[in-house]
């Protein structure tokens, strides 16, 4: 019967851009000055990094930016063997994605961790931020973390 199965497909593409909010803009401006900024909730005292404008837990508007330290502890990690871009999973040289608790912050920051062998990395190690030499006001200014 004609049309029992269909083989024809037509492509669809989308193109978007997204304006960041006030908190992330402030965070990005901080990166340009080689500072890591968080934001403090007046109700629960938690410091969120990167900053966001509302504490979901307390339903409070946040506007007190605080600088947190550039050193912290590796709380969790995965050794990545791939990258995912546009939904495509591509093999990569193994690298470490860490979840880092910076001193002065209550939330974890995700970042690439270098300077430690992928089979030697473990939770609890002290790490510090490494900056791009020339910062330009972008997420990649904070290049990666390495053992402190």
């Amino acid at each position: 019967m004609p049309g029992e199965t269909i083989k024809s497909m037509v492509p669809i593409t989308f193109l978007y851009r997204n304006r960041v909010g006030q908190a992330l803009e402030t965070y990005i401006d901080g990166l340009k000055d080689k500072k890591i900024l968080g934001i403090k909730c007046p109700a629960c005292d938690k410091v969120y990094v990167p900053p966001r404008t509302v504490c979901g837990c307390c339903h409070k508007k946040l506007d007190t930016y605080v600088e947190v330290e550039q050193q912290g502890t590796l709380e969790n990690f995965t050794v990545a063997h791939v990258t995912i871009e546009g939904g495509e999973i591509k093999d990569a040289e193994p690298y470490v994605i860490g979840m880092i608790k910076l001193k002065g912050a209550d939330s974890l920051l995700s970042a690439v961790v270098k300077g430690v062998a992928v089979d030697k990395v473990k939770t609890g190690i002290r790490v510090k931020a490494v900056w791009k030499e020339e910062t330009q006001g972008s997420y990649s200014d904070l290049a990666y973390f390495e053992p402190a």
Partner: protein, 384 residues
């Protein structure tokens, strides 16, 4: 306590990586055959709830193309941009409202043939922060969660592989599953492509084309339609924060809360004793012990024992994903609703080689968002 709401019909497609038909036709054929199975036409349905997503459908207000296919022409219809178990929850609430007696809930997508599932998953991530940085995605979050669980409870890679083999074998016995792995073994799982350690390709669910649908009814309407209704005795729903760095990946607070709500409503004091099987919406095999424990189905941190004793096998103490779960087929938007359909089939003794003997009370779980940010739990019970 609200009204009693029953499931009077349920059906899923034979899922596949490319089902070679359009989404609209897949949905039409599923719904038509469901109506015919239970002896109704579209006229018997008061309200229609779809679970789909403009991103998975590639168009906005995407349900307009589906409305005529499900029989919602000139009727009350709405859409949830989330997993299909949310559609069932929404339908359940509409019947509870007293404004409707019957509802169709349906979830569907072409996650095998029309797009790369990790791309859709990446669209869920915060567009202003995580997405442009490219580190944190569904896969890497699952890996972070798996690693914490494994480190804390001494759950080894071989334990995880053994659990994965259990699911893959169940999927091989499930005629609706898309994935068929020839003789899955611990070594074949561990030998598959490494993604984000400890996760390999074999641990990842089978993103596929597929759909599932259920018909819900008030007690009075249920009596008119069927002589063997399945009763929804408890539901629960909770949403965690979107920011990964604030979440406890082990505790799974939102799932815990959804489970507690559902148990309270169903009057379940001991889920371990009172639930006969669970179908969990796991996007990755590693989520299974974490979810099952957050739901109180096993003791916290007991994954190693559970795997060693086969407690979660079809013939175990607490069968988990006897269908193979999403490792066998994971059509985005449908996966949680498929869990409900599989639970219903179990309660009616229709699960074939994967049948759990004497199953009377089942738990179905649906989730959405990275690392199961949002969770829905249904408790379903057969009367006799």
């Amino acid at each position: 306590m609200g009204k009693r709401v029953a499931i009077v019909g349920y059906k899923q497609t034979k899922h596949s990586f490319d089902n070679l038909v359009s989404r609209e036709r897949m949905v039409y054929e599923l719904v038509k055959s469901l109506y015919s199975d239970i002896g109704i036409t579209k006229d018997a349905i008061d309200t229609f709830i779809l679970a789909s997503n403009d991103f998975t459908d590639g168009r906005t207000i995407s349900e307009v193309y589906i409305v005529p296919r499900i029989g919602a022409y000139m009727k009350d219809e709405s859409k949830v941009e989330s997993d299909g178990l949310n559609a069932a929850l929404y339908a359940y609430m509409r019947i509870q409202s007293g404004l409707y007696d019957t509802a169709l809930a349906i979830g569907f997508s072409m996650s095998g043939s029309e797009f790369r599932a990790p791309m859709i998953n990446s669209y869920v991530m915060d567009p202003a922060y995580e997405r442009p940085r490219g580190l944190i995605n569904f896969h890497s979050i699952a890996a972070l969660q798996a690693r914490v669980y494994m480190e804390k409870y001494g759950f080894k890679e071989r334990d995880l592989a053994k659990l994965t083999v259990k699911d893959l074998k169940n999927a091989n016995n499930n005629p609706y599953a898309a994935r068929r792995e020839q003789k899955p073994t611990v070594d074949s799982v561990l030998g598959s492509r490494p993604l984000y350690a400890p996760l390999h390709e074999a641990h990842v669910s089978a993103y596929a084309d597929g759909a599932a649908a259920v018909v819900l009814a008030s007690e009075e309407a249920a009596k008119r339609i069927t002589d063997k209704p399945l009763w929804i005795t408890g539901v629960g729903h909770s949403m965690d924060t979107y920011y990964l760095g604030d979440r406890d990946l082990l505790r799974m607070d939102s799932l815990r809360s959804a489970g507690e709500q559902a148990y309270r409503m169903a009057g379940i004091k001991s889920p371990k004793r009172e639930i006969d099987l669970a179908e969990l919406h796991t996007n990755f095999a590693s989520e299974e012990p974490v979810f099952a424990e957050a739901l109180g189905l096993f003791k916290e941190g007991s994954g190693k024992e559970v795997v060693a004793n086969g407690d979660s096998n079809v013939d175990g103490k607490m069968p988990v994903n006897p269908s193979g779960g999403p490792l066998g087929a994971n059509p985005i938007n449908a996966a949680g609703l498929i869990r409900l359909v599989d639970v219903c089939a179990q309660l009616n003794g229709e699960a074939g080689k994967n049948q759990v003997k004497g199953a009377k009370t089942g738990l179905a779980h649906g989730q959405d968002g990275p690392g199961a940010q949002q969770n829905v739990v249904f408790i379903v019970r057969r009367e006799k």
